[in-house]
Each structure stands twice: as structure tokens, then as C-alpha cells.
Symmetry: C2
Subunit: 539 residues, 2 copies
């Protein structure tokens, strides 16, 4: 697929606002065709229109051809660019044509906010004129590769829909070799694939697993909005029948109630034992859908398709599934291995910035607890750590997936080394529980937990203060929250006791012993923990 | 332990009613000491009392010594037999002394119903006299091996408490070699032990598994009433701390709500990941507690201690756990292997007759679908098939456990041969669902399901009519219900479609191909099933 995106749509659909946001995430240049025309012509579009519409259209066609020769590029076209058959052919041949669709109300409101009406809407009854224009041009917009709803008042959401739609249709390619990571569990071996563009080949990959053509996609409202139209289009194209179960986005969906609702829908749809469940989404969807797959009919095939960084590097790997108890996170769950984990870093192009940062909490956990080389590599790139470049994302995700897969295949049930993956999680879980799940994102809590636990290790003399500072600096570069919520240290300590790692009433801490090295300890005095938390909060 | 039971208790506590019921289950003779005295003396006890209380007591002591020389025997003593130190010493030395405890109201009501008041209660204010007698004798009854509540208006329940109390304390021994059946699953091997008297050594056996001293027993109201006092006494004696979670008896407890309540209690008690859950009870408790163990903290150690025949031969073996969905039985569940299955056939001495019979539904299933030798062995013993003799129960249970363990270790996830264990279950589950879970017991539904499915096989020409008749005859001997509930055949057929074995919308039937042999078929025409059901119902 060529690296060109053409945004088309009527006046007021938000092409000019959306294009730079799309381009920023991709790291591509962008151009606004109308601005380019005005710049080259040395006059405004209303002036050109008043003089000669024909001349304007000819210039528009010429400049579209000019920008379509650039690559990569995001182009916000003018509203009428689609009228010309040759223009549409050109855009199709050169890249992806995405139509932004809005209601007349949205369009008129936006156009009004910009100043005087443009020529085609001027002269009274702007809304009537806009509606007639829509009627006339609808067949041309329908030729777009895909159409998105652009009514959202948050322009980033509109841009995310464009990016996600591209990813879900395999329209954002990159020259990055895919990485296949085997998880050699004795009874349930499977592969994790980290491949830029994988989401665009999802139907094909599911078919290759030999699963029946009927399946159920479990996702959440946010992810459904972004990826579902593209994914369903693929499934339909491949002759698959997909039932979709959509849960509200957010940690609150990891509940007994939501799980029950999923069972109801699976039973109502007569989802059978051999048919797959696709967990399409972030950690919440993966845990919830994974647990539903583990327990519906005592287990049906599960495919993880993680769409957040946190899910891609951590939660989709290793077979942990579960839901929360009102009194304890992940208190109810099962170890259940998927048939495959299909990771597409391109899905992260549409990921909210905060969610990108929280994913880095787990990445830095891997580095700090297990992988000194990765830690130093990240330190060296600290300035651009949050980049979404294909090679960068693919390599980091694959590295973490490999680390986790390796540990999980040695210790599926967390009896030994797998416990080290809980670095930052004892305090982290306590913070999540005390602030109410969803206030702090999980990865944010892990960042804070690691900061606290590194200080505990420091106080115990296990690591030098310099190492705590290095971890802090790297965390800051990756977008760690800087302040621990104002909670009583005693309450935090108390909340650590319901942790699943507790043995004989004693909390099992995971503490660093150096860069990329950690161990577990059950002999950390309560007073020391409270002291550390108090001192850290005082900063 | 010697095979003698001495029932002691005040007048009206039900010794004479209870003794024959206890003896019948054990297949032991029984004797009523007061009747024996009257017989030997040739006069009534009121007459002897009127003449000389001392002489009565001497004769009582002499005859107690005489019957205490018999073995086995159940003795209903007279109310005052415990007054004599030598009598109590004799009973303790000779066997088990069980005290029946009732309220004054119960006692007076029972004594009144028998006719005139006995000498010690005659002369007015019978209840006051009874209460004073209780006060006086309480210390002697307290010396009993155990005390049970004998207020129940159903005398069989009182007898069951005696029998269960004996079993739970290891007081019913028999010279039957225990059978140890390995379940060699690659990742989770464990042993099933079938051992008469095992319940009396439960604490010791749990300790031998190397589990922590803290554990949780999950049981139901019926089983708690029977076995819990004895089991808890053992645990306490062994220094173990056992939390008990008791659910209402019955299939309705296999619900999301009851499961949630169990999670709440486990979390409230801070049950930790290494601590064991003991599933003490029948199939419902095994499935529910097993599923709780499978999913609490993603899995804690589970020990099955089945107390019904159905649970001992079938549901406790093989790792299936789960709960019901309102629309589909066992729709929610997990495969989860226990650390051990501890089977004590002596627990069945206190099992309700109907529950004993339903257990035979699954035993005949093994014979009919898998084991021709067992089938013929059962046919040869059809007349005494429902005996509770130690050797008989132990050998049959061990045979079935071995059959199931062998199939499960070849096919843990029911991808192949394990499916044959579902003989009788397609129609059986449909009948259970349509009549409302708990109306038909599971084993009863399996009996009926096998009858229907044998007829389907017959109609398909897979087996001769004579074989259907043999299966019917054996089922009848084992107490199968004789009539299918009056349900529309179309409704039964429809209900089979939600079965977990369904593939591509087609029901996978398990059908016999001979004695001790079966296969699966998905090509059974709907009309044939309806025809068979209609013809069978018409009988």
C-alpha cells in the first residue's frame, strides 16, 4: 500500500483539522490542497471562484497530481475535488481515500465558526445548499476506501478513526520484518506474532488457525469505534460470520455482571465449543474475554488481538485471564492459553497518548527487572522513547513479548521466576485499589509502584541510590506520572496484603538487585515500607 | 475399631427407633437392651422397677455385657445404662458410644405417643422429671464418643447422623484393601484413593499432601449436618484451621450468585493461593467448589472428598468443574485437576436411598458404554446391586474410578474417547433442563437418557432389541425411574441442541454399539429421535 492518505469530504467535515493530526501520529508531512491552491494562485478561493470556477478546478486537479507524487503524505483535499473522475482515479491509484462524513448541523456549525460562508454556501439557506451538495456528491464519497463518522467534537478522535480504519484494513504498511515468538508450553504451544499491518490480515490469520467460520469478537466501545468496521469488513470478505459483544470501555467492565452478560450473549448466539473468541482490545478486554473463553463450555479457542501498548507487551501474553472482585483486583480468574496472539503495532497509531505512556510502565518494568541491555538501550533513546515509528514499536514490543514468553514457558503458573514480572505491582495494585480502579491506569500505577519499590530496595541496601535515580529518569522520559496519590502510607501497606502473592500473611515483594535484575523478599518490615512511602510522598 | 455401636440417651431420645435403621444400613444385627431384659425376666420393666430398681440395674449390666460380646452389633441401651461406671467403661472398650440428644419437648412428645409414662417419669410433671434426669445424667452422656442431635422427626435422618458421625471419625472399619488409582496427567498427576474409612483419616491425608494448615471446606447443608462435626473435630485435633463455607443443598447452588458468595467469603477470610479448598459433598459441591478453586486467585489447591455415590464414581474424577447458566447446565466451567480425590465408600452408609440409586445411573453408564465385563458382573448380582457392603461398594467405585481416570488421562479435554462418558447425557441433560434442575436427579436423568439413547441406537440398527432389554433390566435392578416425564418429544429434541457437544449446529450423540461399547454419531435424523421418544413415552 502506498503511503498517501487523501481525506475527502464536504465543507465542514473537518479535513483540514484532521489531516495534521493523522500526519503527526504517522510522522508524515501533510498538505491542505485549498491552501496550496491559494498560495500558488496568490489569491483566495472565493476570489478565484468569482472569476472562474473552471480555472479553479483545473488548478485543483494539477496540484492534486503534484502532491500525489509526494510520499509519504497526508492530503486534505477541497470539498469538490471528488467531482472530477480523474481526481478520484488518481487518489485511488496513489493511496487511500478516506471520506469524512458529518451531519448538516455539524458542518454548518463548523463553517460558521470559521467566518463568512465559502462561495458554494453563500447567498442564504446555507444548510439547504449544503444538503443539496451532499446529495449530489454522495456517490463520489461512496467510492472512498472507507468512510468515517467525523462528527466528534474532539478532532483527535476523528484522526484516530482514520488511523484505526487504515490499520484495520491493512492500509498502513511499513518495511519492518515481522517477529514470530514461539511460546513452547508443553500442552498448549502457540505463537505470538508481532507484525506491522497484522490487523489488516486478521481474517486470513484466523482462517489459517483452522478455526470454524463462526466466531465471536469481544471488544469494548472505544475499540469497536476504531477498529470494528474494518475488521468486520475483512471477516465478511472472507465469508466469516462474526458475532460481536461490546462492553463499556474501562476497568469497571472486569466485573461478574459484565461476565454474566457475555455468557448470556454467547449462549443466546449458540456459540459452540470449537468456535473462536477474538479478544480485540486492551488489557480489560483481554482479561475479560480471555476469562469468558476459559470458562464458557469449560474453554473455547481464544485469539488475543491486543490494541493497546500495555496489552501488546504484557497482558495478552502468558495466559492470565480474570475479572475483579469488588475487594480485590483479578481475584477471580484462570490461567488459559490462547491459540495465538496477533500483535499489530500499527494499531497503536490511533492509541490515546495517555494509554501509550501507561504501556511504557510495563516496558520499563521488563527492562528494570529482567533486561539490563534493554534498560540501557531505552536510556540511550530516552528523548524519542514515545515515538510511534514502525521499527521502534515493533522491536520494543517483540523484545518484551519474547522476555515474557520465555519466562511464562518456564513458569506458567507463577511458581517461580514469573513472579519477577510483578515488579512494581504490589504497591501498584494497592494504589489502583485505593484510588478506585480506573482512576490511575494500570501502567501508571506500575510506574509509581516501581518508584516506591526501588526506594524500598534502596533502603534495604539492595541497590545504590544512583540506580533509583536512573529508573526515575527513564520513567519520566516514558511519561510516568510524577506524584503518588495523597493516600495514607498505612492504608497503602494494608492494601498490599490482599495481593495474590501473599503467603502466610506476609507480602512477597519483588525488589530490584541491580539494573535488569530482581528477586523476591518476604522480610520487608512494615515500618520500612511506611517510611519509604512517607518520605517519597513528602518530596 | 470394633464393630459395635451403643446408642445411649434419655428416654424419648429415639434409641430404639434409630438402632434398627443404623443396623439395616450396616447389614448388622441390632438389639434393644430393655426388650431383651423384659424377655429374659419374663416381666415388664415397670413391673421390675416396682419390685427392685437394684435388681433391674444388675440385670441390665449383665445383659449389656452379654450383647457387648457379640460383633457386629448395634445396641439400643436403656436410658439409665450410662449411670453405671462399669457399663460406660464396657461400652467404650467394646465399641463406639453414641449419645442421642433431644429437647425436653421432643422427648415428652415421643414418650407420650408410646402410651403410659415409664416409671421414672410417672407421677406428674413428667417434663420436670425428664429435665432433672437430664441434668443428672449429662456428664455421663458427655463421655460418649460423639453426640448427635436426635430431634429430627424423620428417624432415618437421625440414623444417618449416627452413621455419618461414625464414618467421619473413622469408627466404621472393614477389612477391605484400599485401591489407589493414579491419574497420570502430564502436568498435574494425582491419585484417587478409594478406601473404606478414609474420611476418618482426612486431616492426616491432607497433611500428607503438604498443604498449609489453613484451609477452607466447602460443603452443603445436608453434608455439613452429617459429616462436618466429625471432620472438624479431626482438623482441630491435627492443629488445622478450617474455614467452612456452607451452601444450600441442591442443584440451584450451582449458580453465579452462590459462586459470588463463595468468592466473598474466601476474600473475607483471606484464603491464600497455596491454601487448599476441600470440596466435601456430592456433585453439586464438587462442581461448585471445584470451580471456585479453579478460579479464585487463578487457582488454589483442590481436594475432592465426594460423599455421594454419583460424586464418587463420576463427578469428582476428571477435573470438570462448573456452574449452571439459567439457560444451559454446566455452561460455565473449567477443567481443573484436584491435588487428590479421597473416596470413602463408608460415607455412603448415610446416603439417602434415592441418591444411592441415582449414583447407579452413572455406574451402569460405564458398564454399558465401556465395560462389558462390568455389565455382566452387575447383571449377575442384580438382586443385591444396591447393597452397601464394604467390599461391594469399594470394588464397584474403584472400578468406575479407574475407568474414568484411564479415559481422562488419555483425553483430558474431551476431544475424543472421553466423549463416550456422555452416554445417556444428551437426552438426560435435556430432561433435567426441561423439568427444572433438581426435579430429576442427574443420575435419574442419565438412566432415562440411556434408555432413550439405547432405543435410538436400536432404531438405527446399531444394537439388537435384546440389548436394549438387558440394559433396561439392569437399570431397573439399580433403581432407575421407570417413566420419562410427560414432555413433548419436540421440546426434548430442541433442548438437546444447547448441549456442549454440539458441533456446527448438529448434536453429537453417544450411542451404544454393543454391550460395553459405544461411538459418537452426528447424523441422527430429528424425526427418528422424536419417533423413539414418542414410542417410548407411549409404553
Amino acid at each position: 500500500m502506498k503511503q498517501r492518505i487523501f481525506l475527502v469530504g464536504l465543507t465542514g467535515s473537518g479535513k483540514t483539522t484532521t489531516a495534521p493530526l493523522v500526519a503527526a501520529r504517522l510522522g508524515w508531512p501533510w498538505v491542505d490542497l485549498d491552501h496550496l491552491i491559494e498560495e500558488r494562485a496568490g489569491e483566495t478561493i472565493p476570489q478565484m471562484f468569482a472569476r472562474s470556477v473552471g480555472e479553479f478546478r483545473r488548478m485543483e486537479a494539477a496540484l492534486l497530481a503534484e502532491v500525489a507524487a509526494r510520499e509519504p503524505v497526508v492530503v486534505a483535499t477541497g470539498g469538490g475535488a471528488v467531482l472530477d473522475d480523474a481526481n478520484r482515479e488518481l487518489m485511488h491509484a496513489a493511496g487511500t481515500m478516506v471520506a469524512l462524513e458529518v451531519t448538516a448541523e455539524t458542518a454548518i456549525q463548523r463553517v460558521k465558526a470559521r467566518g463568512p460562508f465559502p462561495p458554494l454556501l453563500a447567498g442564504g439557506d446555507a444548510e439547504g445548499r449544503w444538503r443539496r451538495m451532499r446529495e449530489e456528491r454522495a456517490p463520489y464519497y461512496a467510492e472512498a476506501d472507507f468512510i468515517i463518522d467525523a462528527n466528534d467534537p474532539d478532532p483527535q478522535r476523528v484522526a484516530d478513526r482514520v488511523l484505526a480504519g487504515m490499520a484495520a484494513r491493512g492500509h498502513i504498511t511499513a518495511q519492518v520484518a515481522p517477529e514470530i515468538i514461539p511460546v513452547p508450553l508443553p500442552q498448549t504451544p502457540y505463537e505470538i506474532s508481532v507484525a506491522w499491518g497484522a490487523l489488516g490480515r486478521l481474517a486470513e490469520q484466523i482462517a489459517a488457525l483452522g478455526l470454524p467460520q463462526r466466531l465471536t469478537i469481544i471488544t469494548d466501545t472505544t475499540v469497536a469505534d476504531l477498529f470494528l468496521p474494518g475488521v468486520l469488513a475483512q471477516m465478511q470478505g472472507a465469508g466469516m460470520a462474526a458475532q460481536v459483544i461490546t462492553v463499556p470501555a474501562g476497568e469497571a467492565s472486569k466485573s461478574v455482571e459484565q461476565l454474566s452478560a457475555i455468557y448470556d450473549e454467547l449462549i443466546a448466539a449458540r456459540h459452540e465449543r470449537g468456535e473462536g473468541i477474538i479478544a480485540l482490545g486492551g488489557g480489560v478486554v483481554g482479561d475479560l474475554a480471555g476469562y469468558a473463553a476459559a470458562t464458557y463450555l469449560r474453554g473455547v479457542p481464544l485469539i488475543h488481538v491486543p490494541t493497546t501498548l500495555l496489552a501488546q507487551v504484557d497482558s495478552s501474553i502468558g495466559g492470565k485471564t480474570g475479572i475483579n472482585h469488588p475487594m480485590a483486583k483479578n481475584a477471580i480468574g484462570a490461567f488459559y492459553q490462547p491459540r495465538a496472539v496477533i500483535i499489530d503495532p500499527a494499531a497503536l497509531l490511533s492509541l490515546d497518548d495517555r494509554l501509550l505512556r501507561e504501556g511504557w510502565g510495563e516496558i520499563i518494568k521488563y527492562a528494570a527487572a529482567l533486561d539490563a541491555e534493554l534498560f540501557e538501550h531505552l536510556e540511550a533513546r530516552a528523548g524519542t522513547i514515545l515515538s510511534r515509528a514502525p521499527e521502534w514499536l515493533t522491536s520494543i514490543i517483540a523484545r518484551c513479548a519474547r522476555l515474557k514468553a520465555e519466562i511464562v514457558s518456564r513458569d506458567e503458573r507463577e511458581a517461580g521466576p514469573r513472579m519477577l514480572l510483578n515488579y512494581g505491582h504490589t504497591i501498584g495494585h494497592a494504589l489502583e485499589a485505593l484510588t478506585g480502579y480506573g482512576t490511575l491506569l494500570h501502567g501508571e500505577a506500575v510506574f509509581l509502584g516501581m518508584a516506591a519499590e526501588a526506594r524500598i530496595a534502596g533502603r534495604l541496601g539492595m541497590i545504590p541510590a544512583e540506580l533509583v535515580a536512573r529508573q526515575d529518569a527513564l520513567s519520566r522520559a516514558a511519561g510516568s506520572p510524577q506524584a503518588i496519590p495523597p493516600l495514607a502510607p498505612e492504608a497503602i501497606l494494608e492494601a498490599t496484603r490482599v495481593d495474590k502473592k501473599t503467603r502466610g500473611g506476609r507480602v512477597r515483594w519483588v525488589l530490584p538487585t541491580g539494573i535488569g535484575a530482581a528477586t523476591t523478599r518476604s522480610d520487608v518490615p512494615d515500618e520500612l515500607v511506611i517510611d519509604v512511602l512517607r518520605a517519597w510522598q513528602a518530596l
